[in-house]
């Protein structure tokens, strides 16, 4: 269903490199949908590398290049308000993507909900612990958050707090990982293992990188079995750790779906239509997608078997290399 819009320029501004999703999933997904809807349109892609002023620069630059719609995943949700104002003053539409822009309503908002993600991984871990009948007294979980200077990490942290709040499990200690750097997370978790030893019954880590680091810390300390560790982003490394039984869960955000939705909204805005909204968040018409929680149980169904844009999220070949082949067999991914 090709649109009537021709030759428009649309910008797609992503925030950082902390996970590969933006360049591996969001951007390709957006471009794919766009080329279906409007083959003559031009998509400008930029990644701000977690730098607010660079994002501002990129924002100005795409305006100079004649972008009429800007899809932005803000590095700093609060600071992006001025960008929205600036664009809207020039008649340019802004779609907030992934992270909301609370103080100034954008024209539309499509997203997975970061706070929800935090809550999901935490709740899932708690349920798992309860199912395993881990007692709540005298033990607790560690919480490894994202970068202290990253607003998205703050949202995830809030979600995790919510998820852990009434679980009965104490939070033994929590840590904001500078720059999301796994080595820092590892060093911190190692320290906590020395401190709390067997008291640690689980780790809520805000992404797969820090989760993997927590696992490495346990392995290095000779803890066996490793207590359940969460993750987020469904990276290959994270999925493989789930396959090998080292990591408990991760979050799959089939970003292609959200990206495609953003593309559709962008075209509708260009056509002058009002895109259909599910709900309104921060005065912004919004469309929210629910991420999927991945554990060993549903990994095959959600990652290998489910098709997004005609291809699976990951293939068995990429995941089941080398020492993961065995785990794959156990989960029924490969024969």
């Amino acid at each position: 269903q090709e649109s009537t819009v021709k030759d428009a320029t649309i910008a797609f501004l992503m925030p950082d490199q902390a996970s590969t999703r933006y360049e591996e999933h969001d951007h390709p997904g957006f471009v794919a949908e766009m080329s279906k809807l409007c083959p003559s349109c031009k998509v400008l892609y930029q990644n701000a590398d977690a730098n607010v002023s660079r994002q501002q620069q990129q924002f100005n630059s795409v305006i100079s290049q004649g972008a009429k719609v800007i899809v932005i995943d803000p590095v700093d949700s609060t600071a992006a308000a001025s960008l929205v104002k600036q664009a809207q003053a020039q008649g340019i539409k802004v779609i907030a993507y992934d992270r909301p822009i609370p103080s100034t309503p954008a024209d539309f908002y499509v997203s997975f909900d970061n706070k929800e993600i935090g809550k999901m991984i935490a709740t899932s871990l708690v349920e798992h612990l309860k199912a395993e009948k881990v007692p709540t007294e005298d033990v607790g979980v560690l919480e490894v958050n994202g970068s202290p200077t990253d607003a998205a990490a703050g949202l995830i942290r809030d979600g995790i707090h919510e998820g852990l709040a009434d679980s009965g499990y104490k939070t033994l200690a929590e840590y904001d990982t500078p720059d999301w750097a796994p080595p820092k997370a590892q060093q911190w978790v190692s320290g906590q293992i020395t401190r709390f030893g067997k008291k640690i019954v689980g780790v809520v880590a805000a992404n797969d990188g820090t989760g993997g680091a927590a696992i490495a810390a346990f392995k290095a300390a000779g803890v066996n079995p490793v207590p359940p560790v969460t993750g987020n982003d469904a990276t290959i490394a994270g999925l493989q750790l789930i396959i090998s039984g080292d990591q408990y869960n991760t979050i799959n955000k089939p970003s292609e779906i959200v990206a495609a939705a953003a593309a559709q909204v962008a075209i509708q805005l260009l056509e002058g239509k009002t895109p259909k909204a599910d709900t309104t968040l921060f005065d912004t018409p919004s469309q929210l997608f629910k991420p999927t929680l991945i554990t060993a149980e549903n990994l095959k169904a959600e990652i290998i078997d489910k098709q997004v844009n005609g291809k699976p999220i990951q293939t068995a070949e990429t995941l089941c290399t080398g020492r993961y082949a065995e785990g794959c067999k156990k989960l029924g991914i490969t024969e």
Partner: protein, 419 residues
Amino acid sequence: MTDNAGNHASTGPLLDRADERVKHEAGVGGALRAFLDRVRSGDLGSLPVIVGLIIIWTVFQSLNPVFLSANNLVNLLFDCSTVGVIALGVVCVLMVGEIDLSVGSVSGFSSALVGVLWVNQGWPVVLAIVAALIVGALIGGLYSFLFNRFGMPSFVSTLAGLLAVLGLQLYLLGSTGSINLPYGSPLVNFGQMLVMPYWVSYALAALAGLVIFLAGYRTAMRRKEAGLSSQSLASLVLRAVVLIVILEFLAFYMNTDRGVPWMFGLFVGLVIAMHYAMTRTKWGRSLNAVGGNREAARRAGINVRRVYASAFVLCSTLAAAGGIMAAARLASASQQAGTGDVNLNAIAAAVIGGTSLFGGRGSAYSALLGIIVIQSIASGLTLLDLSSSLRYMITGAVLAIAVIVDSLARRSRVSHGRA
């Protein structure tokens, strides 16, 4: 001991032209020939960096014609100003052979402070800005205390400062994450849209040329009177005219779009003031001397500690100013402000512009030139659709190329014995 200065104006060779081994050229033609000589021997000042810059601009323009559009250049000027002011402070500490790794943190902290005091606490904006500048100055004062009193290497003290001040910034913004500065307030307008009225930009361009000419003329007259060699009137006029033409053209080109940002005007004003201070005041002399040979400066009776202190304080204060400008530009004081590559960019701008890390060599203009190089690369690359990995690689490569020209020129200067 004797005091018979002046009145050598009689006959014979000029006072400073007595040595027969030195070739001298006179008049406009002579000035040109001397210039070519200097090009050949590699004594070029900032010319090589400018050549590097022109190469970069040509390449980016050919890749995307938006690059040299007035609109994009105006954005470039806005973006240069914030880190540029920080780099200007860095030039000061580099001049004395020290370093400040915490300029990024200090800039972020001062923006947070302005946000908290102004928006959250309701102070008048001017007071908030002054408070932030004072706090910046105090941080610099602390470094200079650690340096002068304990001899702590500035690399270590400012690294500690980097961490501690970042902590303060996070602490200040802790509950809110980031604070939006009110849109439409004078500060935000200044950072985002305020440009000079056209006539002001034209007038300033003309003024610059005029001042250069008058200062040159006055000096030339005094030198002539005193029996020293002096620049010819023709070459003075030529220089002033060329300068005015270039500046007026730039102003005109910017004025086809929004115009010249006041923020950039402030930056250039600070650069010029700093240049004056560094070259034409006793303080600047001391700065150069301490950077060149600390012990010699001390033996000349210079209060070395005070010079260090002034450099550190100035650097932190300018970093704070740069941070406030960045906050104005972004209309927000955020936790990310000042993190990431602000530090490295500010120091790199100074170094790329030609200021030495080892002290005693540098100029205020190096901050201006260096930051324009860095921001041109950044801006040029945002106009190309590149993945982050490619962007990093290309930024690195372009940076190296931009500096190779300068390095080669400096090399030839060394081989001509003028390092």
